[in-house]
């Protein structure tokens, strides 16, 4: 049989975000897979350059619509120790609540998209119906359904009151039963098990060698979760110790189940944080804080894995901001796990990795109100003239 090349993307029904996959196929079996990136430049790193820390935070919070709070936490982890910010526990707890709700919302969104990929449209709608409740909570807590942006340097934009916290708990009670049912469907549905099990397998050794992160690594048996291994903010508190979901199979099925279980762990953390938070306490007012150091490093556990932010500061302004999103760490395994699979399983394998391409690619320039998308040559030349 002759080998043929089958292109998928950058625009394709099985892809929610632009990514180009070049599959070498023999019959319907993939012999080699290559990927090309570069179709969704965003510009967050460049946007932040030259700005004060609190201004740059606005850009950072808009890196991703789903894990907005997690990016904000990674940036604040890098920057707050450089300043004299004294952050009260209430602010930390508020950040945790938003971050864990984000994780639930992200996994539910993913569950819906995954169901859609294999043709289970009803399951897709059920997942997204439950997700709407979380978005309502975001609206109540932060004023935004997406890009919540609740943080300020050393404090928060507003304090959660009793009404807010009651709503969070009420909504969690409302969706918990439904989410359990949906997990059971995921676990027992014949179509799901037959299409997910033993496909897209990532052995533990490969996951370790490639430096994978998040549920993708944890479902291959790697016990690494930033919240557990290097706790930050409210995760340092004894009551909020995280129990990461570790599975050993490493295939699409294990990744699916890992995410389903993580929703319940997040629920537990949110409930506990709601108990611990004092609804009458106010948050400190915004202060102008100045950086004393020059380099800062921060991490957070986003729904897709470890976020890493590296910040270089000069004269209290951002000289360089580097975001290493979880998808950039995980994208390296895409070509390896496709090899030997059937071409019909590609959408399932891709979605089981839960890629966030727009989060990963981030170079565009907005100057004087006009948007310019630069190619690599222009980008490099532009840098030269800076």
């Amino acid at each position: 049989m002759h080998e043929k090349i089958y292109p998928i993307g950058p625009q394709h029904p099985s892809l929610k975000e632009p990514l180009f996959l070049k599959l070498h196929v023999d019959g319907s079996y993939i012999t080699k897979a290559e990927f090309n990136l570069g179709y969704a430049h965003r510009g967050v790193e460049k946007c932040a350059e030259g700005y004060f820390l609190d201004t740059a935070l606005h850009a950072v919070q808009r890196t991703c619509g789903i894990c907005s709070q997690c990016h904000s936490m990674a940036f604040l982890n890098a920057v707050e120790p450089m300043t004299e910010a004294k952050v009260p526990d209430k602010v930390y707890l508020q950040r945790l609540i938003t971050a864990e709700l984000e994780r639930m919302h992200s996994h539910m969104l993913w569950g819906g998209v995954m169901a859609h990929e294999i043709g289970l449209e009803t399951l897709f709608m059920y997942y997204w119906r439950e997700r709407e409740h979380i978005l309502d909570v975001f609206d109540e807590l932060t004023g935004n359904r997406v890009h919540h942006s609740p943080d300020l340097l050393g404090t928060a934009k507003r304090a959660f009151n009793k009404k807010n916290l009651d709503m969070v708990l009420e909504k969690l009670d409302l969706i918990e039963h439904e989410i359990k049912d949906l997990k059971e469907v995921m676990r027992s549905h014949g179509v799901i098990t037959s299409r997910f099990k033993k496909h897209g397998k990532i052995p533990k050794k490969m996951a370790k060698e490639l430096g994978l992160v998040g549920p993708v690594a944890r479902s291959s048996g790697i016990n690494y979760d930033v919240r557990q291994n290097a706790p930050y903010m409210a995760y340092r508190m004894k009551e909020l110790k995280v129990k990461p979901v570790i599975r050993t199979g490493g295939d699409a099925w294990e990744r699916t189940m890992a995410r389903c279980d993580e929703i319940f762990e997040s629920m537990r953390l949110v409930r506990k944080a709601c108990e611990m938070i004092d609804p009458k306490e106010d948050v400190p007012k915004r202060k102008n804080l100045f950086a004393k150091g020059t380099l800062g490093r921060g991490r957070s556990e986003a729904p897709r894995g470890e976020n890493f932010h590296f910040v270089a500061v000069e004269n209290n302004r951002i000289l360089r901001l580097k975001l290493r999103t979880p998808t950039l760490a995980n994208v390296i395994c895409y070509s390896k796990i496709m090899e030997g699979e059937d071409i019909t399983d590609v959408p399932v394998i891709l979605m089981s990795l839960d890629p966030c391409i727009s989060c990963m690619e981030r170079v565009a320039v907005i100057r004087n109100g006009k948007q310019e998308v630069w190619n690599s040559h222009e980008l490099f030349e532009g840098r030269k003239h800076d």
Binding site: G38, E314, V331, N375
Partner: protein, 114 residues
């Protein structure tokens, strides 16, 4: 750097977290971040890269250096010996003209008419 990377690998460092390039004037500095032990402590190493000089790639030691190095190549022109992806793209290929995007006022006009 490759010697450092090899010694890091020997002491069972978890992984390479990130490679960042920072340009100050004519000087480029590469920052390597590694994760160590169960507490996942971050260790940072930096090297200065004189203009036009090549840096040894870490792919042989840490495979995930592939895209991180490619990004430094495309954004800052730093070349890495032995990185096959370096010179391919994370961003759009050179020479492809990007279609002109309409200005903000034009896009509003279109919406109004619609």
């Amino acid at each position: 750097m490759i010697k450092i990377a090899n010694s890091i690998k020997k002491i069972k460092a978890d992984r390479l977290i990130s490679i960042t390039s920072i340009k100050q004037g004519k000087k480029n500095t590469l920052y390597y971040h590694f994760s160590f032990n169960k507490k996942a402590e971050i260790r940072e190493f930096s090297i200065e890269v004189p203009k036009g000089e090549e840096v040894e790639s870490l792919i042989g030691v840490f495979q995930n250096a592939l895209l991180l190095e490619a990004e430094a190549t495309e954004l800052f022109g730093i070349k890495f010996k032995g990185n096959s992806y370096s010179g391919k793209r994370l961003f759009q290929n050179e020479g492809k003209k990007v279609p002109k995007i309409c200005s903000v006022t034009e896009s509003f006009r279109v919406r109004k008419n619609a």
